[in-house]
């Protein structure tokens, strides 16, 4: 029996294989390149090989090596030349092969990409997309699993997007490429193979713009604020908590910059409790900013301090130990348990 036959139902209609996040990202670049001749993809191994995660698979074959270019192995050079290409009116999409491989490009990102528009008073916008596969959970050895988003969100002038669903991967990458601002597009690499049977590669559904958080699960007891690779973890934790009678809300931030204060505050004011969950280290991590913003805006609605569940403040561990480091369902549930559910002082005479 041929493969093609296996993909057809008895009545002859095609069975659609569920799309993966990697395929959605690939399709986003393909569609953007087809629509806009100024979109150029460049990076290490993005051409003939199709990228180490195959996210750029087929782009060179379809658009030629001048539109999807294998560059020398030099991240500062890749981003630096992309800046020059953007100066000449192109819309480069740069792939940084792994999170930690993006660090050589940090100076170009901070000193030029993020502020070129500002330092030239709007004369030279930087419509760049910098794709960064990030985070752990795939058994990567040293320097292949960093959650580096804190560096980027601390840099004014950059947008930081991070999708958690197949639909968002497509929609948000299209938005990033179309944006006249530079976007660091953080791709949770352990979700590359996550699937969405409802998402049709030929008919991508519209998603809300970046800057709008999405409530992935409605709940009343407490809010889990999260993004990227931790979204599925939080959803699983919410299901587990439901068995214990807690109804957790899960908010997927989708973008760290722009940051959606409104949706988060609306949720936390309703539930009165919040836990921020991410893989990045906790000290000075994104959760610190998020917890501070919630506290500043929702203080009188809070029944408990805002808690954080984050990676430990250690260099990313070796793969045999990473499960102890990554925020998992149990650690999220432990934090939820500590949200002062039975704290007498909140109801006693002292208040």
């Amino acid at each position: 029996m041929s493969t093609a036959a296996a993909e057809r139902r008895a009545d002859g209609t095609a069975v659609r294989k569920p799309a993966t996040m990697a395929q959605a990202l690939n399709r986003a670049m393909r569609d953007a390149m087809a629509e806009d001749p100024t979109v150029h993809v460049l990076g290490e191994d993005v051409g003939t090989l199709g990228g180490v995660f195959r996210v750029t698979d087929g782009l060179t074959a379809e658009f030629g090596p001048e539109r999807c270019t294998d560059t020398p192995l030099a991240e500062a050079g890749i981003l630096g030349t992309a800046v020059g290409m953007a100066m000449y009116g192109l819309r480069p999409v740069v792939e940084m092969q792994f999170d930690a491989f993006a660090y050589p490009a940090f100076e170009q990102l901070v000193s030029h990409v993020s502020r070129m528009r500002n330092r030239t008073r709007g004369a030279m916008p930087m419509p760049l997309t910098i794709r960064v596969p990030y985070g752990g959970g795939i058994g990567g050895v040293e320097h292949h699993s960093d959650s580096s988003e804190a560096y980027y969100l601390a840099t004014p002038g950059l947008h930081v997007f991070t999708p958690a669903t197949v639909a968002d991967a497509y929609g948000m990458l299209r938005e990033a490429i179309a944006s006249d601002d530079p976007v660091v597009f953080m791709e949770p690499k352990r979700l590359y193979w996550s699937k969405d049977a409802d998402w049709d590669v030929n008919r991508p559904v519209a998603v809300p713009p970046a800057g709008q958080a999405v409530v992935r699960r409605r709940g009343t007891s407490a809010t889990l604020v999260t993004y990227g690779p931790s979204v599925p973890v939080c959803l699983e934790a919410a299901e587990a908590a439901a068995e214990d009678g807690l109804d957790l809300e899960v908010v997927d931030l989708r973008s760290l910059v722009p940051f959606d204060d409104h949706t988060i505050c609306e949720s936390v004011r309703r539930t009165g409790r919040a836990v921020v969950v991410h893989e990045s280290t906790g000290f000075g991590g994104p959760g610190a900013e998020i917890a501070a913003r919630i506290t500043e805006r929702c203080f009188h609605f809070l029944e408990a301090p805002v808690l954080r569940v984050a990676g430990f403040d250690i260099p990313y561990p070796p793969p045999m130990l990473e499960r102890h480091h990554l925020p998992g369902v149990d650690r999220v549930l432990d934090a939820v348990d500590r949200l002062q559910w039975e704290a007498e002082w909140t109801e006693g005479s002292t208040r």
Partner: protein, 388 residues
């Protein structure tokens, strides 16, 4: 089979698939810096006159800008005094459609290319970062982070070539900048892509205080070209005619699809690094004096005089032109710039974030409160005046 027998069967051969990729010899620089002035070479007299007038203006511009630091009108000025031949030749070697990528010491090259002198000094005056629209004269923002503008030049030239446009990018960097990683990456990308780029290294002897000997062990900086598969040219950086010719040839070569060229111009930073630096801590007066004898304006004057092309009238005209430039700069720099604090929030993003909108509102309120307090003070003073 014994080992000896195996060895006997062995025929020395290069590793499989190895082949020389390029003949290195044509890429190597001349043994001495290329010179034209004083050599009796055939030279375009019109060009010599033009170079002379521009160099005289450039020297005066450097002096005036340095003077403005002493008057507090410029926050800092990294002078290119002594390097005017490179600055001017770089600007003149480019055609209208070409792009210049200057570093922070290259305001003179930007001005020679047509950028308004006051706008070119905006960065150093401190009222904004880039004071000019880079697209108007095709001059990229003055780059403070060393060598980081070089990959930009490569990317822009590459993009232009992909589009089929006849554009060459000329990127300026100093001897210190050649130690930066971005120098390496830019040259490598340029050569691999055969991008129409020219790199001009102004080797002025010092990176602030650190001499070239502590910067590199290369025979010359021009030798670095061969490692990337591009020609390296060595030129006397104080010989304006020689720098102009070498750069013009490199631009032509790039334009014709010949790829990038690395040019090392041997020159000297006569002034300190900036007005805030004390050069006597790291170099001898005798060294400076020797270079003053090899001054780029002086070399041109000698050449023109020798050819009977420099009448007193020519000198006077050049000097007057330079004075007009300096006076205009002085007058305009002495006017206080009008700065709008609210402009801090402009152009950070194409799409303003809600956080920046909140912060802009905070500053707006602070400014309004300050204005109100000022008005109150004035009123109070007025009332006291009446009471008296």
């Amino acid at each position: 089979m014994t080992v000896t027998e195996q060895r006997g069967a062995y025929r020395p051969a290069p590793p499989p698939a190895w082949r020389p990729r390029k003949d290195a010899a044509p890429l190597l620089p001349d043994e001495e810096p290329y010179r034209l002035l004083g050599t009796g070479a055939e030279l375009d007299e019109k060009l010599l006159r033009r170079l002379y007038e521009e160099l005289v203006r450039g020297r005066r511009y450097n002096q005036q800008a340095t003077a403005l630091t002493k008057q507090g009108r410029l926050a800092v000025y990294p002078s290119s005094t002594g390097q005017e031949a490179c600055e001017i030749a770089a600007a003149l070697a480019l055609r209208e459609q070409d792009w210049l990528f200057p570093s922070y010491r290259d305001t003179l090259a930007a001005v020679a290319r047509g950028v308004d002198p006051v706008e070119a000094l905006t960065l150093l005056r401190g009222d904004w970062h880039t004071g000019y629209d880079p697209r108007t004269h095709r001059v990229a923002p003055l780059s403070t982070p060393l060598a980081t503008q070089l990959p930009h030049a490569v990317g822009l030239a590459h993009a232009a070539r992909l589009k089929g446009d006849d554009v060459v990018a000329l990127a300026l960097v100093g001897d210190g900048g050649t130690s930066e990683g971005d120098f390496h990456e830019a040259l490598n990308f340029a050569a691999v892509w055969q991008a129409p780029v020219v790199f001009l290294v102004q080797n002025n002897g010092f990176a602030i205080s650190v001499p070239l000997a502590k910067q590199t062990a290369a025979p010359t900086l021009a030798h670095k070209g061969v490692g990337y598969g591009m020609p390296g040219r060595l030129v006397d950086g104080n010989d304006a005619a020689a720098v102009h010719r070498v750069l013009t040839e490199a631009v032509e070569r790039a334009r014709g699809g010949g790829g990038p060229t690395l040019v090392e111009a041997v020159t000297y930073r006569v002034d300190a690094h900036t007005n805030a630096d004390d050069a006597t801590r790291y170099r001898e007066d005798a060294e400076v004096a020797a270079w003053r004898e090899h001054d780029p304006v002086l070399l041109l004057e000698r050449e023109l005089t020798g050819r009977g092309l420099l009448a007193e009238e020519d000198r006077r005209q050049a000097a007057e032109s330079a004075e007009r430039l300096a006076a205009d700069l002085r007058n305009r720099m002495n006017e206080d710039a009008e700065l709008d604090p609210m402009s801090l929030f402009e152009h950070v993003y194409a799409r303003q974030t809600s956080q920046l909108r909140e912060q802009a509102e905070q500053l707006r309120q602070e400014l309004a409160a300050a204005e109100e307090a000022d008005a109150q003070d004035t009123n109070d003073d007025g009332h006291r005046g009446e009471a008296r």
